[in-house]
């Protein structure tokens, strides 16, 4: 009796907790509402199974509790019942999988004409690169990274000359249009995630990964690193500002291009130099760790 009651309490308590929990999705700020819908669907299907199984157990524990001299029923198999349960489970699983795969198909298919923005991860900070007026990002290589060229942009690639570099500042995004994020890491694994956007992807040194989304709500959101990247992992934060196209364009126009950066640094951008990064960057990281 006690056990049956406790099992019912667990089932009911779980459902009640689900309903009253103050911890739930952040309000969505991208086009990936489909992901939320798939999760709600999954909740309904799995939640029903969970409650049904526990309540069935509770009933058995009450109804078939030990009685001296009672014999259990001897029915080793019931083909019909087993088939039905298998088929119903299959239907339930398909009901979650098929919508999931449809949404995944959208996730991996970048719409033509999506704006490209590069996110660069390094221990333990974010940097951003916009393609500039030509709309094309210049090629890059980790081996070209030095104090004057922290992004490792290929100085010989004309596409890179007008690229806009943002280091140690916020990421700005225009609202309403699809954006393909090209993700690059220069050292270890990182992961670019803004919970309000729902979409994330690891950044892997040696390769460029991507995902896409359309910002649908203006505002300021946190960027967090979501793949363990060393002691400073939890300090690897950033800010994304989603704003109207006009405000965004104005902000973009104020930023320095790669060519301007190199000119200011007083070096010829076509001659790769091998100066180690200034100590400033590592000192900044040390400061944050010491906090």
């Amino acid at each position: 009796m006690f056990v049956a009651v406790m099992l019912i309490l667990v089932a009911v308590g779980t459902v009640v907790f689900h309903i009253v929990s103050p911890w739930w999705w952040t309000p969505i700020a991208s086009n990936w509402g489909y992901i939320d819908d798939t999760i709600i669907l999954t909740f309904w299907i799995t939640g029903a199974v969970f409650v049904a199984v526990i309540l069935f157990m509770a009933y058995c524990c009450f109804r078939f509790r030990y009685k001296e001299g009672r014999r259990s029923e001897y029915e080793p198999e019931n083909k019909k019942l087993e088939w039905w349960l298998t088929i119903l489970t299959g239907i339930g699983v398909a009901g979650m999988l098929i919508p999931g795969l449809f949404v995944w198909n959208q996730f991996v298919t970048v719409p033509p004409g999506a704006a490209e923005i590069e996110i660069v991860g390094a221990q333990w900070q974010w940097s951003f690169r916009y393609p500039g007026k030509d709309g094309v990002l210049g090629t890059s290589n980790v081996r070209l990274i030095n104090g004057d060229n922290p992004f490792g942009i290929n100085p010989d690639d004309p596409n890179g000359r007008d690229d806009v570099l943002v280091e140690g500042d916020d990421l700005h995004l225009p609202i309403g249009g699809p954006i393909k994020f090209l993700l690059r890491s220069v050292d270890v694994l990182h992961d670019f995630y803004v919970p309000e956007f729902r979409a994330k992807m690891d950044m892997v040194p040696g390769t460029i990964t991507y995902f896409w989304l359309t910002p649908t709500r203006s505002g300021t959101f946190d960027i967090l690193c979501f793949e363990l990247c060393g002691t400073g992992h939890y300090t690897m934060r950033g800010t994304v500002v989603v704003e109207t196209k006009e405000v965004y364009e104005e902000w973009l126009g104020e930023q320095e291009t790669f060519a301007q950066t190199m000119a200011r640094a007083g070096s010829d951008p076509t001659r790769a130099t091998n100066i180690a990064l200034s100590g400033a960057r590592t000192a900044a990281v040390d400061d944050r760790l010491a906090q």
């Binding site: 058995c60 078939f64 198999e77 270890v188």
Partner: protein, 602 residues
């Protein structure tokens, strides 16, 4: 010349020692320390695994203290925190759960339940334990090398695992990799034993489809482990080479902290494939023995045959096979080709079907049973609750697009703790309460067991259920502290503090469990040979605890499956596997079923 050969043939040297005497150990050292008896090896494995598991438990308290009460404990720096989570995870998964289920329960139960005198390669079995112990010692030693143990997370992802900026990159990571390699060597010696024993040493009448599900689970898990561990082994060797010799298996071009490193051309994702090709079957290496054992606990204590035995066996086999083609569901957002997501989501959700069938058959075993709420049964019921809970959250994470927002959040932490932490541990506890009488001849104290159960079950559920919801919110895992994140409300911090308090209470309840074990070993009530009135062979041994050689003079002969409970015509509500058919209607007496060996009688 011919005559001489004839003479040789005729010559039979006199037996200096009786044959049985050669078989039995003669000194204290060979009986209790360097023992080749699977039962002694099982207890050695279990004690070592539980001891190292307690270290991991303490590590979890430390990390919970930091999460619950950040900026309170000056001795937990970020580096320490990452070392705690890494060592906690690796110890719990490999050195506790794998070792305990296979080395502990596998060694104890396989020979006894299939009706064998011992494992087929006893010497190798002994060696298996000592190599495992060495692996544990190397792991512990990594706490004392300069820089401490590795803090790369239990997944040990390169490049960061072997680079500065991650704790333990100086030496801890190499110690970890060496320890893992040793573990795998030791496991392979034991694992070959378990498989060959099940296939070759079953007693007369013990067909594969009469084996208790415990043995099916352990057998299949061992097969998985023998096939999966090599992937981890090569991964560990390759990463050791990357770390010590500067090879670039997993290391691409890297510019770290403004410095160009010498590595070039390797693939970090290759390691992830190797790790998870091992890592996903590993989930089932832990789960399948738990599935098997819990089936037997439910059947014995509900006094009813397991429902749908044949389907249960096939489910174990199918889950085992499928577990090798789902591994990349751990890597949906790893940057691998996203088109793989379609395949791995499909295989992952398909594996839910045989798993669900197992759950149905467990609860259908309760139906029209005669359920005794013994402590093992309580733990078995709690297993079903926590496993169903953790299983359905697996359907969230396995469905590729749902995983995108949830991966690397606290939802993942909550999911795998529920499904492969809490649920298997419920089975471990249930199994210890169940088989302790066979191992010692004494019962564990019941009121203490009930307190231990309720605190552990309700506590663990209260710890991990709410953590899922922090994951929905977007709280990341592996964060030393969560201050200044705009979307995390203060209430999340209160929840973390609550979870920490519960975790400490649940931890304290384990002290009661250990006390119960220690006390009952000496003062516990005598159990007799078969206190649960169970049918499987380990309960029919002539001695309790069973002597060396397990079954006395003659090996038992098996006439039926292990689930003859509630048989309509039988005198008792259970019919032992080795009871001759003509005696089903007479009163059973264990002493009639097997004769003790005179020499070993105590």
């Amino acid at each position: 010349m011919v005559d001489a050969v004839q003479d040789q043939d005729d010559f039979i040297p006199p037996a200096e020692v009786a044959e049985m005497e050669l078989y039995h150990p003669k000194s204290w050292l060979t009986k209790y320390v360097f023992s080749q008896d699977a039962k002694v090896i099982a207890i050695q494995y279990s004690f070592t695994a539980i001891a190292i598991g307690l270290v991991a438990l303490v590590l979890s308290w430390m990390m919970r203290l930091q999460l619950g009460f950040p900026e309170t404990f000056s001795f937990i720096e970020a580096e320490d925190y990452y070392q705690f989570i890494t060592m906690h995870g690796m110890i719990m998964v490999i050195y506790l759960l794998t070792a305990l289920f296979l080395g502990g329960f596998g060694n104890y139960l396989i020979p006894l339940m299939v009706g064998a005198r011992d494992m087929v390669f006893p010497y190798m079995n002994m060696l298996s334990y000592w190599v495992y112990l060495l692996a544990v010692l190397v792991l512990l030693a990594s706490f004392f090398v300069p820089g401490g143990p590795t803090g790369a997370g239990w997944t040990l992802y390169p490049p960061q695992a072997i680079l500065p900026g991650t704790p333990g990159a100086e030496g801890g990571i190499v110690m970890m990799l060496v320890s893992l390699a040793l573990f795998i060597v030791g496991f392979t010696m034991g694992g070959l034993n378990y498989v060959v024993t099940v296939l070759q040493a079953r007693t007369r009448g013990m067909t594969l489809m009469r084996m208790p599900l415990t043995i099916w689970g352990i057998f299949m898990a061992t097969v998985l482990a023998l096939l999966a561990f090599p992937a981890l082994f090569v991964g560990a060797v390759m990463m050791t080479l990357d770390s010590l010799l500067g090879t670039s298996f997993f290391m691409p071009d890297i510019a770290q902290f403004g410095e160009q490193l010498k590595y070039s051309g390797g693939s970090p994702i290759l390691f992830q494939h190797l790790f998870w090709f091992f890592g996903h079957p590993e989930v089932y290496i832990v789960a399948l023995p738990a599935f098997g054992i819990v089936s037997d606990l439910i059947s014995v204590h509900a006094r009813r045959h397991i429902f749908g035995y044949r389907l249960m066996v096939w489910a174990i086999v199918i889950i085992g096979a499928l577990s090798f083609i789902v591994w990349a569901h751990h890597m949906y957002v790893s940057g691998m080709n996203p088109w793989f997501g379609f395949f791995f989501a499909t295989t992952t959700l398909i594996i839910a079907i045989p798993t669900a069938i197992k759950v149905y058959n467990w609860v259908l075993t309760l139906w029209r049973g005669n359920i005794q709420f013994t402590v093992p049964m309580l733990f078995a019921l709690a297993f079903i609750v926590t496993f169903v809970n953790g299983g359905i959250t697996g359907l969230f994470l396995g469905n590729v697009v749902v995983d995108v927002p949830l991966s690397d959040t606290m939802f993942v932490v909550a999911h795998f703790h529920m499904v492969m932490g809490v649920a298997p541990l419920m089975v471990v506890f249930g199994a210890i309460y169940h088989w302790f009488p066979k191992m010692t001849g004494r019962l564990l104290n019941v009121p203490m067991g009930q307190i231990h159960f309720w605190v552990t079950f309700i506590g663990a559920y209260a710890i991990f259920l709410p953590l899922h919801y922090l994951g929905f919110l977007g709280v990341p895992r592996r964060y030393y502290e969560l201050s200044d994140i705009s979307f995390i409300p203060d209430s999340a911090q209160d929840l973390n503090a609550f979870v920490t308090v519960i975790a400490l209470i649940v931890g304290a309840a384990q002290i009661l469990f250990l006390y119960n074990i220690g006390r009952s070993m000496i003062k516990g009530e005598k159990s007799g040979p078969n206190p649960w009135r169970a049918t499987s062979l380990e309960w029919q041994t002539p001695q309790t605890p069973p002597g060396h050689g397990n079954f006395g003079q003659d090996l038992p002969v098996v006439y039926r499956w292990a689930y003859a409970y509630g048989l309509p015509d039988a005198t008792e509500d259970y019919v032992p596997q080795n009871l001759p058919p003509d005696q089903i209607t007479s009163d059973y007496d264990n002493s009639k079923l097997s004769k003790p060996i005179a020499q070993a009688a105590e």
